[in-house]
Symmetry: C2
Subunit: 214 residues, 2 copies
DNA sequence: CTGCTGAATATGTATAGACATATTTTCAAA
DNA sequence: TTTGAAAATATGTCTATACATATTCAGCAG
């Protein structure tokens, strides 16, 4: 009855949840578990590594493996791409550049994303031309800055921040929402080695939410 | 010059970003790559699996590996535990049960989380006693429902939803915020095999945001 | 007691070989 | 032409073995 790593993972998770391996405690070493469960050490390794990635275990060389003190569960979210969101919802996507303004090495853009002709998201973006010089020649009336950047300026890392804010006059105008309407705001920054590529603040039309699974 | 799987991963990612392997295209099979790069197939497998988990590749048995059409980057977020957030910020955490009401198999709770004595988050929760019967005897004036559940009712899966809403009278009262203040709302549901364990709607005090890295 | 050095050790990773599994493809039967 | 069964094949996984690497720990010098 050879077992797979997922079975080993399940068994280990059971022991954690049943407090056979209480929080903070060391668990047996891979070799011992492998022997006990009748599998190769590599199989135990695979299982425990997966549990560590999910936050259940903390592993350190030589120091061994211990159960995390607060087993924080983690959720994975994919970074939203507006066009795809709209098309996935079966609607027609459209894009409109509202304003473009170059101030030295900074290119400022305002743009509106539409779903079935109705305002969906409003973005306010700055692109750093010293990091992405090719952007100076791009035509952002045709392609959205987001898509152009995805194609032409792969980033190394970035940050996301969601917050709730009241609609300002800018949002009221373009998203056609009442004053003080609460909106989900997403601020995103992406970086390459040379520095910040872009920073964008996106205000979503009322009612939008962010859904995740754990 | 034997290479590690991370080097293989880096090389594959380079080829994706350089469009040597364009979006949607099939990439060579593991065996061929292994031979080309001078490593074992298992090493290539490790590297490509990691890229697939990060959303760069899509892999299917027999069908091979292809570059994802829209390389959606993913961010991992840890599910927020209010107490920890507060303590991590160096503040004193406090908890107050506002209301408790059992209606048949449903236990309804209202509670307030405090940071340095000031309102931090307001929660509105229902616990399904048919799924977690032990909860009927728990004393939620002492321990927050969240922490009790983490300890006593491990869940299999759950959903998270963030949204922006205007403060209602309930929030105004306890979070001490002006009318129509935009608030970040987190609705969380967790499930065990037997069904839904709990559903909680948490309203965060104004100014709170959700920060992630990619 | 303190600080440094080297031994001990648990996890991390690489490899070759084998078999498992999910799909696609092929090809024959209806 | 359509259907269905069988062959082919790329990825998925397991095993045994070996070596690499990060820490811990013990013991010695100061």
């Amino acid at each position: 009855m050879s077992q797979g790593w997922q079975d080993i993972q399940a068994e280990a998770l059971r022991r954690i949840q049943a407090r056979e391996w209480p929080p903070g405690a060391q668990i047996p070493k891979e070799e011992a578990l492998a022997k006990e469960l009748g599998v190769a050490r590599a199989t135990v390794n695979r299982a425990l590594r997966a549990l560590a990635e999910d936050g259940w275990l903390e592993r350190r060389r030589r120091a061994g493996t211990r159960v995390a003190l607060s087993p924080q569960r983690r959720a994975q979210m994919s970074v939203p791409i507006v066009r795809q969101e709209v098309e996935d919802a079966g609607k027609t996507y459209d894009y409109k550049l509202l304003h473009e303004d170059q101030r030295g090495p900074e290119l400022w853009l305002h743009a509106l994303h539409l779903a079935d002709g109705r305002p969906y998201a409003l973005e306010d973006r700055v692109i750093h031309l010293d990091v992405v010089p090719q952007a100076a020649e791009a035509d952002f009336t045709e392609v959205s800055a987001n898509e152009w950047l995805v194609q032409n300026a792969p980033f190394e890392r970035g940050t996301l921040e969601y917050s709730a804010e009241a609609a300002g006059s800018f949002e009221r105008t373009y998203l056609a929402c009442p004053p003080d309407m609460p909106l989900m705001i997403l601020t995103r920054e992406t970086f390459a080695e040379a520095g910040q590529i872009t920073r964008v603040r996106t205000a979503f039309a009322p009612g939008r939410s962010l859904k995740l699974n754990i």
